[in-house]
Symmetry: C3
Subunit: 457 residues, 3 copies
């Protein structure tokens, strides 16, 4: 009996190995074979593609939020940065990033494989996965531009985007989604991050924090006694438009992360995403109102984003009431984060660190608390993830804490080193004159609004 | 025979009853059972979810149209209102609204059931339906902000949003879509409202009319002799952007209302939606041009929306030429409505009452005229709806008139009572100083455009 | 044997003929029969419809790009033009355009059939095709408004839109996509244009070139010595928003053109679309930087669009690295085009001719070079298209060159005649006073931004 079991086990391994290499070397550029093997594939492809389009559409969402929260004199520069991080992300991820993230695992640390989409693998499934991973990578890249806004040189931003798309993001992404060590942690089901509270948002937010620290605050942000001064953004309508676009795009980001339309669970994910966003906005609005007696729209918009970031990791594993709680906490976290960073003398013009960095961490932790045992590891079959409040013990929570700490440290340290090296070589901050005049004219030759009389605040 | 028929009838009732309770208590949080029972479900889920995302995206559409048509000094306030009605709608509909709308019918008047998504029913199908109903409810809520713009207190708006999401909308929605009395009218096929010309738009528009009347006109809207004065909005580009976004989102609103991708009729619905919008715009543009010799873009944009609102009820039951006619009439209705309300001394800053209220009524009526006997009650099998012009007699038309009158009266009366009560308790209108200065600074502490020199018109 | 083969061939023709007429007269308004005949149809309908919605959403993309690149004093006018071309396109294509494009072929030159959607054919499949063709036609129409911006009379624009939607576009469209002579060229697989680099973009761009030439340059565009002067647009944020929206919408435009979700090739198309856009932006940015030492955001945005236009024809037939090359060349073409036209004294305010006209041609040609033999004529089965670089010989390239030349000549000549006739009858250019004051007030009665102090540049 024992011999036979061992034999069967070996057979299974061989079959699995053959299957995996078959997959790895699948080359079906027409899609005909894939369709024959799985006649139900079209609805999955449609789902993933359209959700991927929505994720791509988050790019103008970020662009509008960031420019709306910043001054008119830097609007062209912010458009340039938000455009170019997507451009560089697309090309860089194609050249090497994708191989590092999803190539054959080495030591649990990174993926390996030939460049250019894993050696130009010409396969409909491979292209689908590449497209999906690409728009996620570009989202992480674009988060940083908010934190370093209004003072980072454009050339430094180009280099930063390249580093993030080629190395910082894909390596951490490999740890969680590429079969790396975090996914194999011996606690709970390993570290879980459904749609990227950690992979995308904590990474983006913490690199942003590093950038904001290396750069130092903008002129006029802090009085001589260190008291922070509000620098209002130039367009509340564009900021609101951007937040709505992000909310919309997030319905691709989270539900689409099933990567499978046959998980009808997508409806639960969408509802959770929406409720957390609403709860985050309400909590942020009320918290600031209690303090200032003003209905602060900017903070409410950041509350929306905070709720969205936080629910991104747990959205597939929790039920609706938990999504509301997660969102409410997120609304609080973003307000405390914004005030806290200001007190520390750190200038994050749009609140990106609090929204993405801190709430990414909170989102990761919340999986370990609220996962309710109804969804697995991107699977609708057992085993299911279960957190502390649903009798799952502390295992999952431990895995989440390890992953969250890893994300925060990895991103902050790598970001800090990167910005410091650049700064020591060529200086990453624009000259004081340029900062006062705005980056638009000197860097780009064009003010954003030449037909309007603007106030240079 | 008679005995047997009665026996069969009773059996059918029992089976139906069991089926319904099975449905009511379905608890399939993973979605695995639902998928097994209906392997074709994924494409329906994908269709409904993505259309629901598009409906959600109508929120920034409304926000941009309304702010574009209003003055810069109230732009932050309009962003706040458009954000918060969605936030409150999401949470309020989760807490109780959904139960009232879709819970077990009581007397044909309202639904009942436990709070919090019907007692936290944890089921992929239930979440899907909740998501869909939620984004529709939030659309109704956001319509009102246009009619009461530039003078309603923010706190009053928060209370109004709560009332609408919790009671006014779900109760009328129950009458039409929740199995209530309007759906059971003994005329035609009962009152029919495919995607909500009445449920969403007449309700929103008529509550808005009540608000505009209780509030009274803005300062400067009418000269001492009662002659209306145009108060131009602050951004035609944002208004146009908003109208385009709404047009786009409406392709989720109307075709998605099949709630089923297996109704290939969705193509007919999309074509009708598009043609009515185009016809509405053209008619509104030409009508105003004949009067003023100016190509009035604002009115053309409202013509688009008028056509969209009108086609919302009939879109599934009519053919393309009828959609064009319905749109042309809608374009006329909106122009006459806007001028008519002005003549009555009622100030609706963005034309929301004419666009949504009046054209919602026209849309409901048009079903009774143009329904052509090719689509049923959300079914592609007989019986099919048939209106007056297609030999269906007056039955359907009567059902439509009853429903339209009910929607208009219910919404106006409930809205009037609500705003009057609030007004008598704490006064819903901002102070004259605040109105002149704009609501942004006093209510929210932030002007929308601090980097621009603005004209306080 | 020979007799039998001939017999079989005749039988096949008869069956095919019957099948085609059955298709032509299919009248399935409920969609029930279509669903029974093809139970897999829903996912195709969902795919095509949602992609069609995305294509429609390109309308505000164009509107924002064009208005952002033009001056504030003409912003209302540009909104009007971008709205009305879609309105007129929708109605005109419904009345006659669709019959000309997709009706029964006559001499390979045009389609024939009754008006109003081929005689009001009431069929879910026909409506689906009509919707798809309609949004493409409207895209071609809206391209022109950029090239003739800031000086063309609104009435002339209405007439132009009608001509293009009714004749110029549908006739050329018939040649390529309606079974006309270009699709039957005896080279390669006949002229191939997957999603319309030629049909949509070259046609739009070249009509625009004709319009720009007939109109002449704007006041102040060229100094007395002929040296061009930059006339900066009024909102870089709106221009960037528009470009992002177009990028997003293009994911409907290209992948949706399979008209079939069972072509899993859609993933390859999406990746190619994205990479070409990114490459175009990077190349345009760098090219201008090398010349001016400024990071020119406007040119980078046009580089995005250039890459998208160029990849539109080849996207289904090439692999990722080729898409990058096609995009890089496109980025160069747009920069050279913009500078070249200026040198020729032609004023194209937003670069529409270079983006759409020239890169449309480049896109068509690229099919003949890079088609790699993995996709057929909207089919995943042989025969597959193969270009020069993949051992396909010069056949396909010749077919592409013929088609490209035809598109350019047809559009330019027809556009030139149309604008010249209009000009000789009533003058298509606004008066000098109106041009200086801006078109908004005199044509539309409303400035776009009445609450802002604007600079009349």
């Amino acid at each position: 009996m024992k011999v036979r079991a061992r034999y069967l086990f070996l057979m299974a391994l061989v079959i699995l190995g053959l299957g995996l290499s078959a997959l790895a070397f699948a080359q079906d550029p027409t899609g005909a074979e894939t369709l024959e093997a799985n006649p139900q594939a079209p609805v999955d492809y449609v789902w993933v593609m359209i959700c991927g389009f929505l994720v791509m559409f988050m790019q103008p969402g970020f662009a509008m939020v960031e420019t709306g929260f910043c001054r008119a004199k830097n609007a062209t520069n912010l458009m340039a940065k938000n455009l170019l991080d997507f451009v560089i992300g697309s090309l860089g991820f194609f050249i090497i990033g994708y191989s590092i993230m999803k190539g054959a695992d080495k030591f649990g640390l990174f993926g390996t494989g030939p460049l250019f989409l894993l050696g130009g693998q010409y396969d409909v499934g491979k292209y689908l996965d590449f497209f999906w991973q690409l728009v996620f990578c570009a989202t992480a890249a674009t988060i940083v531009s908010g934190a370093v806004a209004e003072r980072l040189k454009f050339s430094a931003y180009l280099i930063y985007s390249t580093c993030l798309s080629l190395f910082i993001y894909p390596i951490y992404g490999h740890w969680v989604w590429g079969g790396g060590w975090l996914s194999q942690l011996p606690f709970g089901m390993g570290h879980l991050d459904f749609a990227g509270s950690g992979v995308v948002h904590t990474i983006g937010g913490m690199v942003g924090l590093a950038g904001a620290i290396v750069l130092g605050p903008r002129f006029g942000k802090f009085a001589k006694d260190g008291k922070p001064k509000a620098i209002p953004g130039h367009s509340m309508t564009l900021a609101a438009l951007g937040a709505f676009i992000l909310w919309f795009g997030w319905f691709g980001f989270n539900p689409g992360s099933t990567f499978n339309a046959h998980h009808l669970r997508i409806s639960v994910i969408a509802v959770n995403t929406n409720l957390a966003a609403a709860a985050g906005a309400l909590m942020a609005l009320i918290t600031v109102f209690l303090k200032t007696k003003k209905w602060d729209v900017g903070m409410a918009l950041n509350g929306v984003l905070a709720g969205l970031v936080a629910i991104t990791a747990p959205c597939a594993w929790v039920e609706a009431w938990a999504a509301v709680v997660i969102g409410l906490v997120a609304g609080l976290v973003v307000v405390l984060g914004v005030y806290g960073l200001e007190r520390l003398g750190i200038d994050d013009p749009v609140g990106a660190v609090s929204v993405h960095g801190f709430n990414g961490i909170w989102g990761l932790i919340s999986v370990g608390l609220f996962a309710d045992g109804t969804y697995g590891n991107y699977a609708i079959t057992e085993p299911f993830a279960r957190g502390l409040f649903y009798g799952g013990g502390a295992g999952q929570l431990i895995a989440q804490l390890i992953g969250a700490a890893t994300a925060a440290i990895w991103a902050f340290v790598m970001g800090y080193i990167m910005f410091k090296i650049m700064d020591s070589i060529f200086g990453i901050r624009v000259s004081p004159e340029e900062e006062l005049k705005g980056l638009d004219i000197l860097e780009h030759g064009t003010p954003a609004y030449p037909n309007f009389y603007t106030i240079n605040s």
